[in-house]
């Protein structure tokens, strides 16, 4: 028995030795991967350690990048080198590439959650307030604002909040961005794999997408979730419903085209890509997939104003160019969308329809609101905007060059071109609060990123030289630094301090229901509770013009039980960054306010002041 045990132990030991030898030999034959893995570990660790050195108080108008330590920048350099080494191999080790992508996303999107004392971005706090309303009332009041007419995301949030036994949804805020970004990777991976059989190109595309998604719509918001749905719908359609034969055209069209030989050959070339393989599935499976698309689209229609249009436009473009088979899908989508807008948003749309439709087709106004208005402000802010423009135009130029070089290499990326360009049709709708261009960029980004990656790696090659790898590393490294600047360029006004939140909390404690809470901008951690119980107003124009009388007139409205004006550090930062307002300007405005004798300073801490309007005849 003892001999048997000894022999078993010996066998076990020899197996261990063998496995160790195998590991070492694997490591030696995969020298790049070993170095890459070590660089990843070093980069990730250095990133974590260097976070401690970030001092938010020293942040200037360049945003978070102005307070980042050299260590964190070196960490990003190591991470980039690590990934570049991984993709040198034709078939990168998937688990390694996955780890690198996960670490990159963690580094970029957990940054604010780890260094800032509170969840960032005012609108995210507001969304918590809408969820709080639904939890308390179990219904919506469409008259309050647009959120209550597309309440899908908020209903989901309310359901999740209740199911998790939480008091409110604030706990979700800091990490939502990272979770959404990780979620986006799955459908994009499916899309890329349905368009190319080159793993190197797929991983590079994912890397470039992660570095280019600086738009910042992945916060706790309907659009953040609906972007995931948008990607999933396109992933299903491209994976299972893609057609690559000109025979799908109506017979008469084919006959005409065949008579024009060269045109037929050109269109045939446009329609068939070497990289695309034909995917087939059973009728039952395809039907189930279509049902899944309809369920997802229904959720989208009830959750967000813009995303259903983006999906509709993209799907219609694919159907019209015969790139996908379910031709009736856009009609079904249009019916669902039309039904929702006609019946569920009628209370909100009545009276606003002219304003909303009035902007349609006014491209000059659109460009002004989307582009020109963003280019004003302090010097630091203008640098951030310039880098944004450079990064965006650089990406599009790389995508164009990538598309051309793929064409020369024998690939035809018609689908990518269609999906990159179709979101631009949304520009004809309206300015969308000056954000439409950003949203168009976002909807086209996965496809543009893929083409940009193709600029470096046009076709699968067993061996590639160091030049494309080096240039990929160098350009993506500069994109990484650029990402930090453009994504967190507004961080001075989009982050909040504990003192600011204390002030807001104090305001809710003292303000009776039905009061007016006024501010210069929406950059404030407010509206997260009792959403419907207070009136809110923005006095940005009045404060910029120092028109105190207009403020008094508006705040004196008899509807309000009391009126408060709150001025916080983040609001001042926005005035300084976007309107070149100086600290002296703000101090002078506050002096003028007090000089009227109509305001009383009722609360002050290091980051916030709260003024209450005194009713006529009341002494301070």
């Amino acid at each position: 028995m003892e001999t048997e045990t000894t022999s078993q132990t010996k066998n076990l030991n020899s197996t261990k030795v063998l496995s160790l030898v195998e590991t070492i030999s694997f490591s030696l034959s995969h020298k790049n991967e070993l170095v890459s893995f070590l660089l990843l570990i070093a980069g990730g660790s250095l990133w974590f350690v260097s976070l401690a050195g970030i001092n938010l108080d020293e942040m200037n108008d360049l945003g978070l990048v102005s307070v980042m330590t050299p260590g964190s920048l070196i960490a990003l350099f190591l991470l980039t080198v690590s990934f570049a080494l991984t993709i040198k191999r034709q078939k990168p080790v998937a688990i390694l590439a996955l780890l690198q992508l996960a670490v990159l996303l963690f580094a970029l999107h957990s940054l604010t959650a780890l260094v800032e004392p509170l969840a960032r971005f005012g609108p995210a706090w507001r969304h918590v307030g809408v969820i709080d309303y639904i939890v308390r009332n179990g219904s919506v009041n469409p008259a309050i604002d647009a959120y209550f007419n597309w309440p899908g995301f908020f209903g989901l949030g309310a359901f999740l909040t209740e199911a998790a036994g939480l008091n409110n949804a604030l706990v979700f805020l800091p990490w939502t961005s990272l979770i959404f970004e990780l979620l986006y990777m799955f459908p994009i991976w499916i899309i890329y794999n349905s368009l190319s059989d080159d793993p190197r190109l797929v991983w590079s595309g994912l890397w470039i997408f992660s570095l280019s998604n600086w738009v910042g719509q992945d916060y706790f918001s309907p659009q953040g979730l609906n972007y995931f749905f948008y990607l999933v719908v396109l992933a299903i359609l491209l994976k299972w419903f893609q057609t690559n034969s000109i025979e799908n055209f109506p017979g008469i069209v084919i006959k005409i085209l065949q008579k024009m030989g060269w045109l037929y050959r050109f269109i045939e070339r446009l329609r068939v890509s070497k990289a695309i393989t034909n995917r087939t599935a059973t009728r039952a499976q395809l039907n189930l997939l279509l049902i899944i698309i309809v369920v997802i689209y229904t959720a989208v229609v009830g959750s967000h104003q813009l995303t259903p249009f983006a999906i509709l436009v993209s799907v219609s473009a694919l159907v019209l160019t015969s790139r996908i088979s379910p031709r009736g899908l856009p009609i079904l989508m249009l019916v669902l969308l039309g039904t929702w807008i006609s019946y569920m948003t009628s209370a909100f749309m009545s009276g606003r329809i002219e304003i909303l439709l009035g902007q349609a087709g006014h491209v000059d106004q659109m460009l002004k609101a989307n582009l020109v208005d963003h280019m004003l402000g302090s010097q630091g802010h203008q640098i951030v905007v310039l880098v944004r423009l450079l990064l965006t135009s650089g990406l599009w130029i790389a995508a164009f060059a990538g598309g051309v070089s793929r064409w020369h290499a024998g690939y035809t990326d018609t689908i990518l071109i269609i999906l990159s360009l179709s979101p631009f049709l949304l520009l004809g709708m309206q300015a969308y609060g000056g954000e439409m261009l950003l949203r168009v960029f976002l909807f086209s980004l996965p496809f543009v990123a893929f083409l940009a990656a193709a600029f470096f790696f046009q076709k699968p090659a067993l061996k590639i030289g160091w030049i494309p790898v080096f240039s990929f590393g160098l350009i993506t490294l500069s994109m990484t630094f650029g990402f930090l600047m453009v994504r967190f360029g507004n961080e001075r006004m989009e982050s909040f301090t504990l003192a600011e939140q204390e002030a807001v909390q104090h305001m809710y404690e003292i303000a009776p229901e039905g009061s007016l809470i006024a501010s210069s901008t929406t950059n404030m951690p407010y509206k997260y509770k009792d959403y419907e119980k207070y009136h809110y107003a923005l006095f940005d124009a009045e404060i910029l013009n120092k028109d105190v009388n207009a403020i008094i007139t508006k705040m004196s409205d008899s509807r309000y039980k009391a009126s408060f004006l709150i001025i916080t550090r983040a609001q001042k930062a926005q005035l300084e960054m976007f309107h070149s307002y100086t600290e002296e300007d703000i101090a002078s405005f506050q002096k003028t306010l007090m000089a009227t004798g109509r305001f009383q300073l009722i609360y002050r801490n290091e980051d916030a002041d709260i003024y209450q309007l005194l009713r006529k005849g009341t002494k301070p």
Partner: protein, 130 residues
Amino acid sequence: MKQPHGRLSGYWPPVLLLLAVLVSGAIILTGEPKPLRMLSAFWIVAYGPGNAVVRLLQTKDGTINLALSIALSLSLSTCISLFMIYTHTWSLINGVICLLFITCLASLFEVILVRTHRIHSPNPVEMVES
């Protein structure tokens, strides 16, 4: 009885998934401690019901399974929330029961398909790439 082992192994995944969703529902509705309840809430709202349906597709690709399961679960939860909001039937119990019902239905359907040898047979019906 031709392939009892193969068929039994085909029954387990939908049954286990259903059990997991049922346990999550019970944890949520009985108000168990927060960390466990939070996990259960995410499981039932963001994965379980969608996975029960997506399993019927018989895809073998883990990424596709995960992406579709999460997207479908979140969409179903959104649609159910919308329905409860507009029909003034909002309650946690109603929502959880709806999601449990969908999971039960999909799992039962999968079990029936396994029983009738339509899936998990020696030549499974699957996404074929030609």
